[in-house]
Structure formats: C-alpha cells, structure tokens
C-alpha cells in the first residue's frame, strides 16, 4: 500500500522504514536492510538511507514509501493518490520514475488518481468511476506503447484518450452539480 500522505514512520530512518515490511515477515534485520538498501537505490535514494523522513523532501518520502511497499514483493501494489501532494513538476518526474521502476519489477499496480493525464500516462487500462455512488462508467484500454517518454503526453493519441475520459467525467460532474442544486435551492437563491 502506498498512501497519499507519506506514511513513513518518522522515528525510523529511510532504510529501517524500507526494511519494516520484510522484518514483519520474519526476515532477520540485517538481511532485510540489505535488501531495503537495494530498493532504495532503485528508487534513487542511495545516500539517504540514514536520513529520517523529516529530513527528506516530500518527493523523496514518496520514493521511500514506494520502496517500502515493493520490498515485501506483494502480488498487487495499491497506490492511493501517492503523488497528489506533490507539485506539478515533481509529480511528472515521479510518474516517469514509477514507470521505470515498474519496468524492472512488472508488478500489477492499482493506482488511484484524480489526474486524467496521470491515469493515461501510467496505465494499460483506465477505469473511470462516478462520484457518489462510485460506479464504473467507463473502461478504457490505453494502447500506448512502452517505454513511454514524457513527451507522449503531447501526442494526438494521448489527447484523444484524455478527451474521451474528460467528456465522461464532465457530464458526470455537471449532473452531480445540478442534482445538488436541486437538493439545496438556497445555494442558488443567494
């Protein structure tokens, strides 16, 4: 699991955080840390093993977070808006790095996001959900090849997918907004 807020234990260093899951599985600490070390290298955090989360930037915290989640070698990785708290540039960077890491591990990732471009850029398949009640309103297969450079976001194919998803979300948002106005007439009368 990778959550939106960096949920690293603030009282452990990046290395111990990363080794945490392995130790929970009964791996001996030394070995767990050795393996954690490799994963931190993979996410580009070598040299920061002994830093506490408070000494890392938000982006670095999320990398460590990701490393910790991958360390236990889960069947499926659930990422709940992990980049939502990052600024736009860092977010783009993290997206392409996530793809790089994914290419090495080939783990199935369920990634929750509000960013349409993030969804398309990362996925093979985008499932569009409606708001209250959360129902599936579309299931989009992303045919973009891999590896995907960041420039792919400006391709025509990408734009078409974005438009399709945005169209559905837009009607959804509009409908919701209207129904809310009906329930709350005072909001419009003011």
């Amino acid at each position: 699991m990778v959550f939106e807020e960096a949920s690293l234990f603030p009282w452990y260093t990046a290395l111990r955080n990363c080794a945490y899951g392995l130790e929970c599985q009964g791996m001996d600490r030394r070995e767990a840390e050795k393996r954690a070390q490799r994963l931190l290298e993979m996410v580009g955090l070598s040299g920061f093993e002994h830093h506490y989360p408070g000494e890392l930037s938000v982006g670095m915290q999320q990398r460590a977070n990701l490393a910790r989640a991958i360390a236990v070698d889960p069947e499926v990785l659930l990422m709940d808006e992990p980049f939502a708290a990052l600024d736009a540039q860092t977010r783009e960077l993290m997206q392409s790095e996530l793809l790089g890491i994914w290419a090495q591990t080939k783990k199935t990732v369920v990634f929750i996001t509000h960013q349409i471009d993030e969804a398309i850029y990362l996925s093979d398949r985008v499932i569009v959900m409606s708001a209250r009640p959360g129902r599936i309103i579309d299931d989009v297969t992303v045919g973009l090849g891999r590896p995907r450079p960041l420039e792919i976001k400006r391709s025509r194919e990408f734009a078409a997918l974005e438009e399709r998803i945005w169209g559905q979300l837009f009607t959804e948002v509009k409908r919701n907004d209207e129904s809310e106005r009906e329930i709350l007439p005072s909001a419009t009368s003011r």
């Binding site: 234990f9 009282w11 452990y12 945490y20 899951g21 929970c24 093993e49 000494e55």
Partner: protein
C-alpha cells in the same frame, strides 16, 4: 558496516559550550542578573536588620551553612536517604505508570477500570494517605516509597495513555498492512510515538514525587532532606532551611535536565523546531 555509517547521516549540530550557554545569550545574562540582584537585596535587608535576620537568613549565611554541611559531610546521609527513597519509588511509579498507560491505551475495558482509580488518586491529595500508609507500613522507608508510587504513577500513566491514543491511526494502519503482529506494533509504532508523552509524564511525576518524599520526611523520619529542613526550622536555623531548599531546587533541575537529555536522545527523528 551500516552502524559505522550512521553518524555521517545527521546534519552536524554544533556542540554547545557551557560558556556560551551561560553568558552568550541575552536570556542567560538577564536571568543571572535577576538572581544576583535579588540575592543582593536579600543580603542588604538581612545585614541592616530591616527584617530580623534570624527569620530570613541571608545569602552569605546560607553559603556558610552549605560549606559547613559539605565540610563535615553531614549532608550526605540526609541526601542519600531522600534520594534512595525517591529513586526506588519513582522507578516503580514509572514502570507501573507506563504499563498502566500502555494497557489502557490498547484495551478499552482495562481503561474503563483504570480510569476511575487513576482519577480518584489524582483528585484526592496524595498526602492525605500519609496517616493510613503509616498505619499499614510503619514509619520506615516503605511507607515513603509507597507514597511516592501513589503520587507518581498517575502522571506517568495519564501521559502514556495520551501518547498511545495519539499514535496516529495511519501509522497503525501502515503497520497492519504489512502484517505486523500486535507486539511488533507496540514496539515499533506505539512506543516510539508515545516517547515524548511518556517523558512529559516522567517530568511532571518527578517534581511531584520529590515533594511527596519531603513531606513524608516532615511527618515522620529521622533522616533525609525533609527531616533536616523541618528540624532546622524548629531550631530557627533558617540558613540551613534555605540551604535544604536550594539543594532540592538543584536536584529538581538536575532531574529535569537528565530527562531532557533522554528525550532528545529518543527524539533524534523529530525535525528541528525553528
């Protein structure tokens, strides 16, 4: 190998020198000036007999009493008696308090049971227990230790409980999502998160328990700082009373400093507060 790499990781915090902390800051200069001025006025009032010097003593008389106490070694048995009661009692109170706090934090029903008792012993003045404790344990060391335990446990337990409650849900969630056992959660999530609270409890408890020891020695004792103070008072030896108070103040500050150091040691992960 990983251990040896550790010291390099933290940013270099400049070591503070005593000279710097004592005289360097404005705060320290004014603090010291305040003490010096008050002592000077005290000495003057006493020398001029504006107030009877036998009642208020004077800094020089207190200093003389201090020198005398240390030179003859008379202070040591008293200091030892007080300290040994306090250390034993406070160690028990801390252990008990932390245990009760942790259990209350983890088990709702245990908390319901413990809550009323903790509150009751807190609201009731601890010193009111003295007559009963003397009845039960006699006038020796035991009753004093029990009084310290009664007084101190509450502060440690209540603060520990607050710490456990504050162990944020998200960290517990993370721990559970990795399949950590309850004991591992306790060791890796709940305890580290509660340390600052526990230390606060120890701080509050240490101050209150020193008071408890002194009062117990007032009431019934033939040794200890409290005994020395109350006896000197009876003989109108105000300088020695003041000296005893000074020793207690220094003791209190020392304990507080030690706890502060422990806190910083455990809190290496806390980002510096600016």
């Amino acid at each position: 190998m990983t251990e040896s790499a550790r010291p390099l990781s933290l940013p270099n915090v400049p070591r503070h020198s005593w000279r710097r902390t004592l005289l360097g800051s404005e705060r320290a200069r004014y603090g010291i000036a305040g003490v010096v001025v008050i002592l000077a006025i005290w000495e003057a009032v006493s020398r001029t007999e504006t107030v009877k010097s036998v009642l208020i003593s004077s800094p020089s008389a207190v200093a003389a009493a201090a020198i005398d106490e240390f030179a003859t070694g008379a202070i040591w048995p008293n200091l030892e008696a007080t300290l040994s009661v306090w250390v034993i009692g406070f160690a028990i109170a801390s252990t008990l308090g932390i245990a009760i706090g942790l259990l209350s934090g983890r088990f709702r029903r245990f908390r319901y049971v413990a809550d009323s008792w903790l509150n009751a012993t807190n609201v009731a003045p601890d010193l009111a227990f003295v007559p009963i404790l003397i009845l039960w344990f006699g006038i020796g060391v035991t009753f004093k230790i029990v009084l310290v335990v009664l007084t101190g446990t509450f502060y440690v337990a209540v603060n520990t409980l607050a710490g456990v409650k504050s162990a944020e849900g998200r960290f517990l969630r993370v721990g559970r999502s990795f399949g950590a056992s309850e004991t591992r959660l306790l060791r890796t999530v709940i305890l580290p998160g509660s340390i600052p609270y526990i230390i606060t409890g120890l701080r509050q408890g240490s101050a209150r328990t020193i008071v408890a020891v002194i009062v117990a020695e007032f009431v019934s004792s033939n040794q200890g700082l409290g005994f020395m103070i109350s006896l000197s008072g009876a003989y109108l030896d105000t300088a020695k009373v003041m000296f005893g108070i000074a020793i207690l103040a220094i003791l209190g500050m020392l304990v507080s400093e030690i706890l502060g150091r422990i806190e910083r040691r455990f809190d290496a992960w806390r980002p510096p507060v600016h």
